[in-house]
Amino acid sequence: MTKANITEYDKTAANNTDVQDVPLGENLMFPANVNNAFREIMADLADMNDGTVTLTSPAVGSIGVTGNITVGGTVDGRDVATDGTKLDGVEASADVTDTANVTAAGAAMLTGATFTGSITAPDATFNGTTAVKLPAGTGAQRPTGVNGMLRYNSDDAQFEGYAGGAWGAIAGGETLIINGAMVIDQRNSGSAVTGSASAAKYAADRFSLYANTTATITAQQVSDAPNGFQKSDKITCTSAATGDGTGSRVQFSQAIEGHNMSHLQFGSATAKTITLSFYVKASNAGTYGGSFTNGSVNRAYPYSYTISSANTWEYKTVTIAGDTSGTWATDNTAGIIVFWGLGVGSDFEGTANQWNGAFDIAPSSSFSLKDNLNATWQVTGVRVEVGSVATEFQHRSFGEELALCQRYYQSINTGTNQAIAFGTRQTTNTVRFSIPTPVTFRANPSITISGAVECQESDGTTTSITSISAIQSSGNYVVATGTASGVQAGSITVSANSGTTEIDAEL
């Protein structure tokens, strides 16, 4: 068989009987053919060298190539010609817009990336006009704290941070207390009032003193206050009484309107934890008590706090779990009442640190101010906020605080024959008039006016008005009616003469 090229060469030497028809068989090769045989072999090598003949399946240990490599088939199953074209377009055609592909590749999109692990960035800048969302979770889901952490606490409905080795609310939650810094005192302007069992007395707006005791207890807005405050409310026992009955009580309190505490969800399984904080100073060190109650005072949570040093301002916090039972008003009536007990009989004592179905003002054995002549107790910087952390007192402007107080009480001091209202004749003996007020009252208020009140008719006739009462509060007016004799038809102007008009819608 003719061996026309190297691919036809046989691995068995005996089978190679010719090369390009030059006979190589035994006794067939003439000396004259030897050179021809070598020449044919060299020609075959030359064909292999220039690619005229394709080697079938050569094996190469290592190979150095100084020129180009052209592959007509595949390399390791890949069509190099086709795939090579793809490689040529990788940079131009790379798909970095498909989130699924990018995420599958373990990379992150510039837009819409979702990181499942922690991210470390030495500095970060958030641009845009929308918002950055922080991790949110319950208090139980807090991570191990590291200073500088920020998160949203869904239990407390507020942002919190880890600083100085502890979690704390950021910037302070909204306080439920009005006039917590005791700066507003519309009724007394700093004068002392004496507590009574016949009516609550207000020494600073929204804070009432009630004293059902034979002791004499006074309350007064004073200028002695801790750093950062200007005023405090001071309760003093000017005549002590021991041996009052079991129903005696001296209490200092603020009732919080139901509208302002409805988000606490008291009376339900999702009732929120709240924290009371205040600055207190007393003449006697010891264990003092107080409580939280509902407006109907048939649910109470007594608490204790300790005054460590006499006559020294101290900061106290009390955190309680929200009440999951009971009826808690969420309207314009009293929602929750914060009490400080200053001497209560056993009728108003209850087990501390739990919700009781009774009107408890303090735990038993709490310090009784009314039993100690000249004993004093002062308080300011009062806050009640959602959550388990007491945050820094946030001072409102005087105007804001006054307006909040005026929802419950307004005092109008008048000069000589100063107009306070305008109205019309209702009947011969009654007039109806509207008193302008800066804010809307919580409810239809009661009115008392000291000094003479008159109505002046359009013809100049002046008639005394007696028995004045509000009948409606609407927007920034209180509609009132009064008794007057012989009023003629027409409009009237109501004036008060050097007196004080008190309009009361307290809880």
């Binding site: 005072v297 009293a334 009947t427 009654t430 109806r432 208020p445 009115i447 004045i468 509000a470 009948i471």
Partner: protein
């Protein structure tokens, strides 16, 4: 009842529509009290009336 009040007198105030308010002496001061459930003075007046310790006089 959170706090009691010392109410020594109470009298209706009327106009041409009937009784519209109560004039009451509370802790020594005369107050005009609207007949409104949300008013603490009215609530206490009605509590004492129900307890039989207070009577509201008719208007003159």
């Amino acid at each position: 009842m959170m706090n009691e009040m010392n109410i020594t007198s109470a009298k209706y105030l009327e106009d041409d529509t009937g009784n519209i308010a109560i004039i009451a002496t509370i802790d020594g001061s005369e107050w005009g009290v609207p007949m409104s459930e949300g008013n603490r003075h009215y609530a206490e007046i009605m509590r004492q009336v129900e307890a039989g310790t207070l009577t509201i006089q008719e208007a003159e």
